[in-house]
C-alpha cells in the first residue's frame, strides 16, 4: 500500500515536474523568503530543483517511508539546508516554509491530473500531506538542533574566555573576574588560578573583582576559599577592584575578607611589586637622547 501510494506520488511528480517547480518557487517567494535578503533567487531555484529531484528518486525507490535508506540523500540535503539557514539567522517558520510551501503546488498537480480517479486523488493528497509533514518536522528538528549547538558552543566559549589568568610580572599573577560567580564558574576559575600558580611559580595572585556586579555572601565565600587554597600553595592573594557601593554593602552584610584589598588593580600591583622586593622608579631622562632634546639643547652644549 505504502509502496503503491509512493509510486503514485512519484509518477505524479515526474509527470508534473515542469509545473510544480516554478509554482513552488513562486509560493516560496510569496511567503517572503527573498525579502530576508539572505538568499538569492538563483539559490532558491537550484535548492528547490535539487530537492524535488531527490524527493522524486526517494519516492520511486522507497515509497513514502521517510525513515528508509532511499530518503537518505533527500534528508541529508534538507539537514544541510536547515543547518545553513539556522546559521544565517532564518526564523524557524522561514526554514519550514521550504517544505510546507510544496503542498499547494503538489495538490494543484493532483487536482489537474485527469488520469486519477476521485478516490485516487483523495488518497494521493493524504499520502503527500503525511510525507511533507514528516519532512517538515525533520527540517525543524535539525534547525532546532543546530541552534542548540550554537548556544552550547557559545556557553563553552564564555566559560573559557571569562576566566583568564594573566601574568603581570615575574611571580605576580592577575585574575580579572567578570560577571556572575556561580559555583560552576568559580570552580573553573579556582582550578585555573591554582594551576597557573604552580606553572609560573607565582608568589602573589591579584584577584580583581571590578567586573563582578554583585558580591553577596556566597561570592565572598567563594573568594575566601580561593584565597585559602592559593595560600596553601604558597601564594599570597590580594583583592582589587572593590567599588565603593560594593564595599558599603559588604560592611552591612558583615563579610570580612581577611586579605589585603585595594581599590584598583594598579594599586594592588604596586603592593605586589613591593612585597616581592621591587620598586618602580621613574626613568631618568638622558640628556640629548631624544630627538626634541637634540634639536633644542644640542647647540647650546
Amino acid at each position: 500500500m505504502a509502496a503503491q501510494a509512493g509510486s503514485d506520488v512519484a509518477s505524479l511528480v515526474s509527470r508534473n515536474e515542469k509545473t510544480i517547480l516554478p509554482e513552488w518557487v513562486e509560493f516560496q517567494k510569496k511567503a517572503g523568503i527573498l525579502h530576508t535578503g539572505r538568499i538569492s533567487e538563483g539559490e532558491l531555484q537550484s535548492q528547490s530543483r535539487n530537492f524535488l529531484h531527490l524527493l522524486h528518486e526517494a519516492l520511486t525507490q522507497g515509497g513514502t517511508d521517510t525513515s528508509g535508506s532511499a530518503y537518505e540523500a533527500a534528508k541529508a540535503m534538507l539537514a544541510e539546508l536547515s543547518r545553513s539557514r539556522a546559521m544565517q539567522g532564518f526564523s524557524p517558520s522561514e526554514t519550514a516554509t521550504f517544505i510546507f510551501s510544496l503542498k499547494q503546488p503538489l495538490f494543484n498537480a493532483i487536482n489537474r491530473d485527469a488520469s486519477l480517479s476521485a478516490d485516487q486523488k483523495a488518497s494521493t493528497v493524504w499520502t503527500s500531506t503525511m510525507l511533507l509533514d514528516e519532512l517538515g518536522l525533520f527540517t525543524l528538528e535539525i534547525f532546532q538542533k543546530s541552534r542548540e549547538e550554537v548556544i552550547v558552543r557559545q556557553q563553552r566559549e564564555i566559560a573559557e574566555l571569562s576566566t583568564p589568568v594573566v601574568k603581570l610580572w615575574e611571580g605576580i599573577l592577575a585574575l580579572p573576574l567578570i560577571g556572575t560567580l556561580d559555583s560552576q564558574r568559580t570552580q573553573v576559575v579556582m582550578e585555573n588560578l591554582l594551576q597557573t600558580i604552580v606553572d609560573d611559580e607565582a608568589e602573589i595572585a591579584i584577584i580583581d573583582i571590578t567586573g563582578v556586579p554583585t558580591v553577596d555572601t556566597l561570592t565572598a565565600q567563594h573568594l575566601l576559599k580561593t584565597v585559602a587554597a592559593a595560600r596553601l600553595m604558597g601564594a599570597d592573594c590580594l583583592i582589587s577592584g572593590i567599588r565603593p557601593q560594593i564595599a558599603q554593602t559588604m560592611v552591612h552584610l558583615g563579610v570580612e575578607l581577611n586579605v589585603i584589598s585595594k581599590a584598583s588593580l594598579a594599586d594592588a600591583f604596586a603592593v605586589a611589586l613591593r612585597q616581592t622586593g621591587r620598586t618602580i622608579v621613574k626613568a631618568k631622562r638622558v640628556e640629548g637622547y631624544t630627538f626634541a632634546d637634540k634639536k633644542s639643547g644640542g647647540q647650546d652644549a
Binding site: 556586579p213 556566597l218 554593602t249 552591612h252 552584610l253
Partner: protein, 134 residues
C-alpha cells in the same frame, strides 16, 4: 500602599537567583535608587533568593514597585513552602547557619533593607518581605 509594577519569578534553580538579581536591579533603577542603595537591595535579594532555593527547597519571589506618601520603593516578598525556621532569633544571628554558608545572609539582608519582616511556620514554609525606599 499602591503598587505600580509587579513581577513574579519562580526560584527553582541557581540560574533563577541571577534572574531575581536582574529584576531587582531593573526595579531599583526605575525607582531611581542611588547606586549604593541599588547594590544593597540587589545583594539582599541575592541572599534571600539563595536561601529560598537552598533552605526552602525553592519557591517564588514577588517584586513590586510601591508608593507610600509620595515615596517610591522596591518591595520583594520571598515565599517558600519549605521546612520553615524554628528559631528566627537564632537564624538572624551572624555566623549561625544550618547549612554550609557563612551564616550572614539573613542578618545581612535585614541590615541592607529599610524594612524587613519574616513569618515562618515550622513545616509550612517561610515568607520574608524586604523593602528599600528612595
Amino acid at each position: 500602599m499602591p503598587t505600580t509594577r509587579t513581577e513574579r519569578v519562580g526560584i527553582k534553580v541557581s540560574d533563577d537567583v541571577v534572574r531575581v538579581r536582574q529584576i531587582t536591579r531593573a526595579f531599583a533603577l526605575e525607582v531611581g535608587l542611588s547606586l549604593v542603595d541599588q547594590t544593597k537591595i540587589v545583594t539582599a535579594s541575592s541572599e534571600l533568593a539563595r536561601n529560598t532555593l537552598d533552605y526552602g527547597g525553592g519557591g517564588e519571589v514577588t517584586a513590586e514597585i510601591v508608593e507610600q506618601g509620595g515615596r517610591r520603593g522596591v518591595r520583594l516578598t520571598f515565599d517558600d513552602k519549605g521546612p520553615g525556621i524554628a528559631d528566627i532569633e537564632q537564624a538572624l544571628k551572624d555566623g549561625f547557619t544550618s547549612g554550609r554558608g557563612m551564616g550572614l545572609g539573613l542578618g545581612g539582608a535585614k541590615r541592607l533593607s529599610n524594612e524587613f519582616s519574616i513569618v515562618s511556620e515550622p513545616g509550612l514554609g517561610t515568607k520574608i518581605t524586604i523593602a528599600r525606599w528612595k
